[in-house]
């Protein structure tokens, strides 16, 4: 089974919560059936739930639109549905994604991303129309009688989900036919009654013309308003090129198991002449073939489509003509072939960006802010070339020598970093360095006995050469750190470095395990974990020797950590009589086990936080309903009593605190789960 598709009951609970929170009760009900029963057909879902067929189909459409479930395609006699755990969990990262994109590409790109997240996969044309409505759309925007009662942002998401699904049939090319058949019913459902999902849009929205969510994406954006269609197209293209957005193809709807079966068969037919492999060598060939096909398929997902640039500047008309694209007119109302492209957010890239953020944070804690800034620059330079943190389908590594040469694209030179950083005049490049280095770089003055530079120099007036030298020193500090944040490669361009993400990710996992143990058991627990990690299996006496402590001092912490599942114990009898007295008793630490245990605990902690939010909301539910009345909104001071206002403020504080903690736990999940594949313990 695919590593990322193994689900635990607690993850199922967490994801059901998230789905319910964002997409409403119906979707969550269908989702929870799939979560509890695993891969199911439509009929089986109907049997396992109290919902009727139409409701289920409707729920499935929402889930499919958001890529929360896989389906087995239209080929088989029966379509099976299966949860996509990674994407489901990804719901918790929506806010973070917007922030990450904003930091890198500005508020407008962030706005596009947040719309894509809200809408699920979207045709470019729909996105365009969302920004530039072709006619005056009378979708009444203020009408959101949400039952979910969350902040306004979440309500918007709710509505978008519904709207998107209403016309999914036209948009997505991957909806199974049995749901297609339910198309008219679906639309009835949207406009009809008994819809638990909150926002309804009037049916004026013409489904067949794929009128995208009349949801007003630009409503609360202020200065991030999109000024022209071209700007939107450029942004989308840039995001696709950098791997943040990918095009949707039908294979993305297949679960990893289905993909494997399909490509395995293909590999058998093409690599092994259609004979099921029996020998070890044949199996090897076919497995390799399968992996190769998987990689090829995945690369195809993220390949940049050839964009037909329209009306970009003068002379572009000519190119359009040459390209022979549909709709030669440069007018923004015309449609081009790009418009049928369906795009969605690429979840793998999110993990890459999160890794960057966390590494920078780690460096900031260990080496200081300026070094962190240097590292951030290096990482961001590499980011656009890094499609994912780790490759699930990588070539089996029996020939590592071929990989030894580092791809030139993954090298960063000190000069590049210095050039980028020299634009920032506020950055004191010499901070965090040994003063002697500053002297060495500038060749001015010397360092007094109190370590004060005798010839102070304004860091912003350093020449590029000097800055490069300073950057190089910062990079050397990164390289010397036990984390080995960077690795030296060659002398070209002052100094050329690459980053061994795999090794760093392993250490980050270890670091988080140690942090957790430190919080629970103090430094003694960390010492034990580190000792066991370094030495392997130890009996009591050897443990004492390594830690230089007496046995009674250690026993307690060994016991506690064993109970919490961070270390394991083992008893090996010496004689066949298995006397406890003569047996050997070992303690050991397994990174992968500790990692999964901590991941599991973190999921559980997240569930508890969501439950607590629900409970806290329940307590102020009445007040919230009042505060959300249309006559109260905006006039809170006027209609609410002081006590009510205080309670409202307290609720906001509590919610904020809990959500912040939730996002921090998500950071931990990213470190533990997304940055590195399964660790095979040595």
């Amino acid at each position: 089974m695919s590593y990322t598709q193994r689900e635990t009951p607690i993850l199922a609970e967490l994801c059901t919560f998230l789905v319910g929170d964002v997409y409403g009760e119906l979707a969550a009900r269908v989702y929870s059936v799939l979560a509890r029963h695993g891969r199911q057909s439509l009929a089986a879902i109907a049997r396992a739930s109290y919902l009727n067929g139409r409701q289920i189909k409707y729920g499935l459409v929402i889930l499919l639109q958001q890529h929360l479930i896989f389906h087995s395609g239209n080929d088989g006699p029966l379509t099976y549905y299966e949860i996509d755990w990674e994407n489901s969990y990804g719901i918790v990262r929506f806010g973070k994604v917007t922030k990450l994109v904003e930091d890198r590409y500005g508020p407008k790109a962030a706005n596009v991303m947040s719309n894509l997240l809200a809408l699920g996969h979207t045709r470019i044309a729909d996105l365009k129309e969302a920004y530039f409505p072709p006619e005056t759309d009378s979708g009444d925007e203020s009408d959101d009688g949400a039952t979910n009662g969350a902040g306004s942002k979440r309500k918007r998401t709710n509505g978008a989900g519904v709207n998107g699904s209403a016309k999914t049939n036209g948009v997505a090319n991957g909806i199974p036919s049995e749901l297609d058949a339910a198309k008219p019913h679906t639309s009835d459902l949207v406009n009809g009654d008994g819809q638990p999902n909150g926002v309804h849009k009037p049916s004026k929205v013409d489904r067949l013309t794929h009128n995208a969510a009349p949801e007003e994406p630009g409503r609360d954006q202020g200065d991030s308003d999109m000024t022209s269609v071209d700007e939107l197209y450029n942004l989308i293209q840039r995001l696709i090129e950098h791997g943040w957005i990918r095009t949707v193809t039908e294979t993305q709807y297949l679960s990893p198991g289905d993909i494997h079966d399909m490509l395995y068969q293909e590999s058998i037919e093409q690599d092994n002449h259609g004979i099921t492999p029996t020998g070890a060598k044949d199996k090897e060939t076919v497995n390799r073939g399968t992996l190769r096909r998987k990689r090829a398929m995945r690369d195809e997902w993220s390949s940049v489509p050839t964009f037909v640039r329209r009306g970009r500047a003068n002379g572009s008309n000519k190119r359009i003509k040459t390209n022979g694209a549909a709709g030669g007119s440069a007018a923004s109302s015309a449609s081009s072939s790009d418009d049928d492209l369906v795009i969605r957010v690429n979840p793998e890239k999110i993990a890459v960006a999160m890794r960057t953020e966390q590494l920078v944070h780690l460096v900031q804690q260990r080496l200081g802010s300026v070094t962190a800034r240097v590292y951030q620059t290096m990482l961001r330079m590499l980011e656009s070339q890094t499609p994912r943190c780790w490759d699930e389908w990588s070539e089996p590594s029996d020939e590592p020598s071929a990989e030894n040469g580092v791809d030139l694209r993954f090298l960063v030179t000190a000069r590049d970093v210095a050039t980028k950083l020299s634009r920032d005049r506020d950055l004191d490049m010499l901070e965090g360095l040994d003063p002697n280095v500053a002297v060495q770089i500038t060749r001015k003055g010397h360092v007094s006995r109190t370590n004060v530079w005798t010839q102070p120099t304004d860091p912003s007036k350093l020449s590029l050469e000097e800055k490069t030298k300073a950057v190089d020193k910062h990079i050397q500090m990164l390289a010397e750190d036990p984390f080995h944040f960077v690795t030296w490669h060659s002398r070209a361009g002052f100094s050329q470095w690459h980053i061994e993400f795999g090794e760093i990710a392993k250490q980050m996992i270890q670091n988080e395990v140690e942090n957790t143990v430190a919080a629970k058991k103090g430094s003694l627990g960390v010492k034990l974990i580190r000792a066991l990690k370094k030495k392997g299996k130890l009996d009591e006496r050897a443990t004492c020797n390594v830690m230089m402590m007496s046995a009674p001092d250690i026993r307690g912490v060994v016991n506690d950590l064993t109970l919490q599942g961070f270390v394991q114990t083992q008893e090996i009898p010496k004689h066949d009589r298995r006397e406890a007295k003569t047996s050997l008793h070992f303690v050991w630490y397994d990174r992968q086990r500790a990692r999964e245990k901590l991941l599991h605990d973190t999921y559980k902690g997240m569930v508890r936080i969501l439950q607590r939010i629900a409970y806290e909301r329940e307590k102020v539910q009445f007040l919230l309903t009042k505060a959300e009345r249309s006559d109260v909104v905006g006039n809170e001071e006027k209609w609410l009593s002081k006590g009510e206002l205080d309670a409202l403020r307290k609720w906001k504080e509590v919610q904020e605190k809990l959500l912040l903690q939730l996002f921090r736990e998500d950071d931990l999940v990213a470190t533990l789960r997304d940055f590195h594949g399964p660790l095979v313990s040595a």
Partner: protein, 359 residues
Amino acid sequence: MASAVASFPAPKDEPAVDADEVVSPAEALYDKCAQRPAGQIFFQRDLSNMQVAETITQLTSILQELCDRHLLKLMTLEGEPCWKLRSRSDADKLRRLTPDERLLYHHIDQVQAEGIWSKALRGRTNVTQQTLTKCLKSLESKDLVQSVMSVKFPNRKMYLLKHLKPSEDIAGGPWQSEGDFDVALIDTISGIVAQHIENETCIKVPGNWNDYEQAIAQKKAAVQGMRDMEDLAPAVKPYRPRRDPNTSRLVHRNAPQYPTAASVADWLNSKEILRGKFVREEDMEQLLEMMVLDNRLEKISGTNYRTVLTATDTKVYNGFADAPCGNCPVFDLCGDEGEISARTCVYFGQWLETESEEI
């Protein structure tokens, strides 16, 4: 070093004669030897120079007598016989031993500070287990031998003479006393070593080390304005914390001589902090490795160590450990509903300062 050799089949040439003085020559010789510094080793020429015995034959017989009475101990140094004095009380004790006990004592004596395992002792002497246990017990009660738990083999009892200090092989290195780690000593020494390594690898940089703003005197007013702005909105310039001349920060030295186990051991030995104990390179490596586990040092390359520095003072763990669930004693019992759940959680209540559901 004089190595002990069998004192039993001592050369015996002639029977003792001419011993009709008031003080026997044997006693006289013993007294003369006792006047010398304790622990001295006597060769035949030293003894004949004492002019107690008139002839070599007489000297031999006197020595034989003293050996028989356990007042002297015969040893050899580079093939030459030599003798060492025993105290009268020790000799007295030895005289009262049974032959079995004496045999065992002799073997224990031979191994000196290394000690001998009771099983090995039995193998060498061929006595029965009961005799062995009985004799060892009586030797111990007579304060002639001591038993020590081996550090290498914790279930082995090693025997050695009472007055000897167990060697490092069985009692452990300088960090151990009586078979256990001397925690107080280790704490003190590791503190000293940590300070030493910090001095070697880090440099304390005052906040105003590069005080170019002060240096430009005419721009002082402007500088003042800038400072004010920084005070008001520090978040705007996240990469430029205020320079306070009174604060200082430790940073790693540029290309220092990183200490190794050998260099630190040399330094510690030269300082003579551990009185009477010599710290070998292995002992120091053990200590340094332990400090790495303790997160006080970090390993730079195969053998080099340096101090662990953190840029921030506040300790944050991670999203999970900082939440109430991370340290919850009943985390494993906590369910979706029931007596222990998110609704009823007292820890969430404390953390958020809100009321939890009463059970």
